[in-house]
């Protein structure tokens, strides 16, 4: 089978999901960041919780293809902050920016252009600036169960100790705070 078919299909599901869920809508993203319209935040919470639970189940069946990012904590924080700035300014991220650009939003298209510019500058500064910063606070490609911050004597905890409480508490909070009536 053509190796492009699988990523095209999964990408299509993802792009379609972004549009149908309302995340590909800068007004929804800004609404959540302004703590007024929580639709995007709740959608993202479900996205994360379902992904976390499903991935854990896959790992039990030995069907999960993990690709854990390196825990370069400084660059993860700084990069997140930079992305957060852009997200708060525009209401877009790389995925939703693409989805909105193709949905007729000209401002998203301009934002995507800016993204190519950011990628170019990244190429330019990566060797001299980012690579050294990566080395500060680099804990390797570790997961929370592998980095037992609370019990240093353990080398690895069962992921269930993380997944079950997070999913259960998350689900309870989402249920207790769910909007009633017309609001969604």
């Amino acid at each position: 089978m053509d190796p492009r078919i699988v990523p095209l299909l999964i990408g299509a599901l993802f792009g379609g999901g972004l549009v149908l869920s309302g995340l590909a809508d800068p007004d929804k993203i800004v609404g959540s960041l302004r703590l007024r319209d929580f639709h995007a935040m709740r959608t993202i919470a479900v996205f994360v919780l379902v992904g976390m639970l499903g991935t854990y189940v896959l790992s039990l069946l030995d069907l999960a293809n993990f690709e854990v990012k390196p825990a370069t904590l400084l660059t993860a924080g700084v990069g997140g902050a930079l992305l957060g700035l852009g997200l708060g300014m525009t209401g877009y991220c790389p995925g939703t920016g693409l989805a909105c650009a193709v949905s007729g939003r000209f401002d998203a298209l301009v934002t995507v252009l800016g993204m190519f510019g950011g990628a170019a500058v990244f190429i330019a500064i990566q060797p001299a600036i980012v690579a050294p910063l990566d080395k500060i606070a680099d804990y390797g490609k570790v997961t929370l169960p592998q980095y037992s911050v609370f019990v240093p004597s353990l080398t690895e905890t069962n992921p269930a100790w993380w997944v079950i409480p997070i999913v259960v508490v998350g689900a309870i909070v989402l249920l207790l705070t769910r909007p009633r009536g017309r609001a969604a």
Binding site: R36, T55, A71, T72, G80, L83, C93, G95, M115, I123
Partner: protein, 188 residues
Amino acid sequence: MEELTVRKAPLPWWLGGLLLGLTQVLAIAVSRPLGVSTQFVVVDSLALRQAAPAYAKAHPLIGDKVDAKTEKVLVNPTYAGVGYGFWLDVGLLGGALLAAILVRRWRLRVNTVWWRASHSSVLLRLLVGLVGGFLILLGARVAHGCTSGQFASGWAQLSLSALPFTVGMFVFGILAAAVFYRRVPKFE
């Protein structure tokens, strides 16, 4: 005409989130976690290889390595061609376009409701878009991933890196939104 109220999303929060979460699980089962931002660097890298081949091919990140013993050129596995990630992003474009048309949300727009509530200049919106986009991708690649690759996929895998990324993203996202969107528009 421009919209003045924020519309409801096509799907309720629990269904849209479920759809996205299941897509993530499918991705991890079939190949690898979702990710979007690397391809922007790939496209730039491919362009650079045409425009400035000497610089590009010798670049520590996007360039090729030479095997010391055989002196064979090892073409960069990530940035020298289009692979899985590229076609995922292409699929994303196609799926988004199809979905937008299906739910009748495809519309030529230059502005957002939240922006219009606080600003009158469309030009400023586009300028902010350009600068914002720049920060988004620069931040994403500095962090080794974006809202899909670091945040969504990070939490799905319980990656340690997702923690500082999430904190940075929300703190500065909330701050930036508060600065650029002072007035609250009407909601549907």
